[in-house]
């Protein structure tokens, strides 16, 4: 590849190639899909970039972006990178204290933020951020009466850029020319399942070469549509939404609101799609609960054709040929059930759909394969980029696919996955020590435990730190059990317990209030709150049956023996989950330590007090009896 390639240079190339003849982006605004051509895209980036220059932004400065997926995010990112600045992406649902951490740790000089909600967060903390010079917003709604001089609108910056251009013609092009592929393009904060987030520095070379590997594998066409809603603060959107779109020229579509994503995906009929594991799980859960709620005939047809579809996929995987009757049935199933179903889910035109970022149950992959979605699993991370992915017609639900061409994978003696290659990051920002710990002789230590199977597929089992053992020395992976349990429509989340000082596997369950509620309603079980429903004998029995189903697929020592159906949901705002909805294991174990102790005692009941903060500042406690249930009777 060209050693001088940067993202702004790629944009210039695409704009020269397509000009006004092809659209680059669509955004739903006031109910209409508005289009931007490549020339317009280029102009917005250029003038915003010049605007930033005139505000005093220099090469090596950091610019934070805090907002939903909108064209402005892309423009701001490329504009900052064009002057050699580094982009720091922040998740929109972060609390002010978290935003504070990211902004101060990254030494950001300028923040580009979406709307009133985000601006309010920044204004709340700006006094403790001495380096912060300017806050730029792109949605003025509700901000009409904000008079703080640190604020400036996106359009005003574009205006500044246009003025700047008149006095300094050609200065944007010069800056872009000066860009080097080894310059740092973005800081991606790790999700921080363990401790404080660290910022991985990724160069243009990292992003572009990694994206090129992805592009080569799936040959995105410039006529295809992609709906961008994975947070751009995440490496995936940096690679797929930004780098791949600049490489291939496919259309990036931005949803109207986070709540309308599903509807917007249906309208666009996206060809390329990336959902996190939680979203695929939720989609599957939604279908299951709708089917539960539908008429007998529909349930019958759905179940019948699903069986057929599973069989066809299985035969395909084993490279055997299904007989004609099955094929005819499958064809009927496509027209009667799966085509309309996929249409409803916005998956009808999908040519390739991805999932990645966390572990998922193979059952979910099998399900979507059965209904005809070309679903592929990716394995990667902020530091190592995309390491492996499924290729067409070689999809094994248990694996994370084959290793990318520009990346090498190795295993330590303990089985830890080590990665080397173009996609591996340049180190952590302001954290030499952590960088040294994670880099060994040019190999990045992922902290994941895994192996490569006979077909050359990478199998990722769990985090090294999470692979646990029981008192009798049996090794097991909590995550392996958790993802399988989460396939149940009634279990939203769960925490599998174990460890060298514990005799058996225990479990904390977070039921899915919507589906369990629906189930209870149909059986005329009255309930008031989440707490109340969670401790109903029938509900506990329901969860128990779901656990037994999973237990049957597990070796005996790995089976769940006792569980608690928790009285509250895990919540990212209470730090029990990360912003990408991964469980923070140690934190949760600490928080629920009384309950966990009860799981490993002989008690059948425990009284817990849940603190409640009233609006007038008073504090109170709600006392609840929580039941501990045996799934597995001890053999005497």
């Amino acid at each position: 590849m060209n050693p001088d390639e940067t993202l702004p240079k790629l944009l210039r190339k695409r704009a020269e190639e397509y000009g006004n003849r092809k659209i680059a982006m669509r955004e739903k605004k006031l109910g209409i899909w508005e289009e931007y051509t490549w020339s317009e895209y280029y102009r917005k980036v250029k003038y915003f970039s010049l605007g930033l220059l005139s505000l005093g932004l220099k090469k090596g400065d950091n610019v934070a972006i805090l907002g939903e997926n909108k064209p402005e995010w892309f423009w701001a990112e490329l504009a900052a990178q064009a002057v050699g600045a580094i982009v720091v992406g922040i998740f929109t649902d972060c609390l002010p204290s978290e935003v504070m951490f990211y902004l101060s740790h990254s030494d950001s000089k300028i923040v580009v933020a979406y709307d009133q909600e985000q601006i309010d967060k920044i204004l709340e903390i700006k006094d403790s951020l001495p380096l912060l010079e300017k806050v730029i917003f792109w949605d003025p709604k509700g901000l009409w009466n904000y008079k703080d001089p640190i604020l400036m609108s996106f359009d005003n910056v574009l205006g500044l850029g246009e003025d700047y251009e008149k006095e300094n013609t050609g200065v944007y092009e010069k800056h872009v020319d000066r860009g080097n592929s080894d310059d740092i393009a973005v800081l991606c904060y790790t999700s921080g399942t363990t401790g404080e987030p660290k910022a991985a520095m990724l160069s243009h070379h990292n992003l572009i070469s990694n994206a090129r590997g992805w592009f080569d594998a799936d040959r995105f066409k410039d006529t295809e549509d992609y709906v961008s809603f994975v947070p751009p603060a995440w490496i995936t959107e940096q690679l797929l939404g930004i780098a791949c779109s600049l490489l291939s020229g496919f259309n990036v579509n931005f949803p109207e609101e986070p709540e309308t994503v599903q509807e917007n995906i249906c309208e666009i009929g996206s060809h390329i799609l990336f959902y996190g594991p939680r979203l695929w799980e939720n989609l599957n859960r939604m279908v299951q609960s709708k089917i539960m709620d539908s008429s007998f005939m529909r349930r019958f047809l759905y179940n019948l054709f699903l069986k057929v579809a599973y069989r066809i996929v299985e035969e395909g995987r084993n490279k055997t040929n299904a007989n004609l009757i099955w094929k005819i049935l499958n064809y009927l199933g496509y027209w009667i059930v799966f085509r309309p179903l996929r249409n409803k889910l916005g998956l009808l035109r999908v040519r390739v759909a991805y999932l990645g970022g966390a572990a998922i149950s193979p059952d979910v992959i099998k399900y979507f394969q059965a209904i005809g979605v070309n679903i592929k699993q990716l394995y990667g991370g902020s530091e190592q980029g995309i390491v492996s992915m499924h290729r067409d017609n070689q999809i094994k639900p248990h694996s994370s696919g084959t290793v990318m061409p520009q990346v090498e994978v190795h295993f330590s003696s303990e089985g830890e996955i080590m990665v080397r290659g173009v996609s591996v990051f340049k180190g952590y920002y302001k954290n030499e020590k952590a960088t040294k710990e994670k880099m060994k002789d040019g190999w990045f230590l992922t902290g994941d435990f895994g192996y490569i199977d006979d077909d050359g597929h990478l199998i990722v089992i769990d985090r090294m730190d999470d692979v646990s053992e029981l008192a009798d020395g049996q090794k097991f992976s909590p995550q392996y059990v958790e993802v399988r349990l989460r396939f149940s429509p009634f279990i939203k989340d769960c925490l599998v317990l174990g460890g060298p000082h514990r005799r058996f596997v225990g479990l904390l369950v977070n039921m899915d209030i919507q589906n369990v509620g629906l189930w209870a309603e149909k059986r005329h079980i009255n309930y008031t709150t989440f707490i109340d429903l969670s401790q109903k004998a029938q509900v506990i029995e329901l969860i128990k049956q779901e656990i037994i189903k999973v237990n049957q697929t597990l070796p005996e020592w790995n089976q769940v023996r006792r569980f608690i159906n928790l009285q509250k949901e895990f919540d990212a705002d209470e730090a029990e989950l990360t912003r990408t909805r991964k469980l923070r294991r140690t934190f949760v174990e600490e928080r629920f330590k009384d309950l966990i102790q009860a799981v490993y005692s002989d008690q059948d009941e425990i009284m817990v007090e849940t603190p409640i903060l009233y609006r007038d500042g008073r504090k109170g406690f709600v006392k609840t009896n929580i039941f501990i249930t045996n799934v597995w009777e001890k053999k005497s």
Partner: protein, 259 residues
């Protein structure tokens, strides 16, 4: 600090009775331009009666109402709406079988002046007009964050949302004076916060006057510039939130009095 703005609405000696029951007795007050005025009082104090008189549902027995110096006391409701007074209702008044967008387009009817023939073939000017009105409706949808419910049938939506759509419907009339009858009733805290923000946004951006009838004292004290207190058809107090909080008559009406 009273703004030196022109009076948009003026009530003079308003009296309303149903048979021998007096609902309003000599009520006088003025609403200035770009002001949020709240009317509070116990149940049956006559708050909604005032709104009903203003927008022509009730005919006062005595007294006069002026809107922008025009006497509107004897005008019919549709005519008053055309002059620029819109309201929301305590019991939401929407077409529950229609979608949000259809409800809002229907609310635009006072601004639509179609020629039947052109409208029937949806051609030329009519088409442009429809687009123009749809745009205004879409701006209101954006303003009140109703995008996810644009094409949902109103009857299937939650109560708090319907209240918001009812507000959107009133806004679609592009009024100069907005009457809000208990917009927060029956809402949870989060919905109330949203609604308060929307009301303030309307007031700030559109520079219109608002008369708010509301029971939630927190909201009323926070956002009103002026408060009128009603009790058994009498206006017992009129002033800034701070004064009202200290007014002995108000405390008596609300909390009762020791014998």
């Amino acid at each position: 600090m009273e703004k030196q703005l022109k009076t948009i609405l003026k009530l003079e000696d308003l009296n309303l009775s149903f048979g021998s029951l007096s609902a309003l007795l000599n009520v006088n007050f003025e609403v200035k331009q770009n002001q949020i005025l709240s009317i509070i009082g116990p149940n049956g104090a006559g708050k909604t009666c005032i709104l009903n008189c203003i927008n022509g549902f009730y005919r006062p027995n005595r007294g006069r109402i002026f809107f922008e110096e025009k006497d509107i006391t004897r005008l019919s409701s549709p005519k008053i709406a055309k002059l620029g007074i819109a309201r929301t209702f305590q019991n939401i008044q929407l077409f529950i079988g229609m979608t949000t967008v259809e409800n809002l387009m229907a609310a635009r009817h006072i601004h639509l002046k179609p020629s039947p023939l052109a409208a029937a073939i949806f051609f030329g000017w009519e088409r442009k007009k429809e687009i123009k009105h749809r745009r205004i409706v879409e701006e209101i949808i954006d303003f009140l964050d109703l995008e996810p419910y644009r094409k949902k049938v109103v009857g299937t939506l939650a109560y708090g949302l319907r209240k918001r759509i009812d507000l959107a419907r009133a806004l679609a009339l592009e009024p100069e004076l907005l009457l809000l009858d208990e917009p927060m009733a029956g809402m949870n805290t989060e919905e109330k916060e949203d609604m308060t923000r929307f009301i303030l946004d309307i007031y700030e951006l559109r520079k219109i006057s608002i008369i708010l009838v509301e029971h939630d004292m927190g909201v009323v004290m926070d956002i009103s510039e002026r408060i009128i207190v009603m009790d058994f058809g009498h206006k017992i107090a009129d002033g800034a939130p701070k004064e009202i909080k200290r007014n002995p008559k108000v405390l008596k009406a609300y909390l009762g009095e020791k014998d």
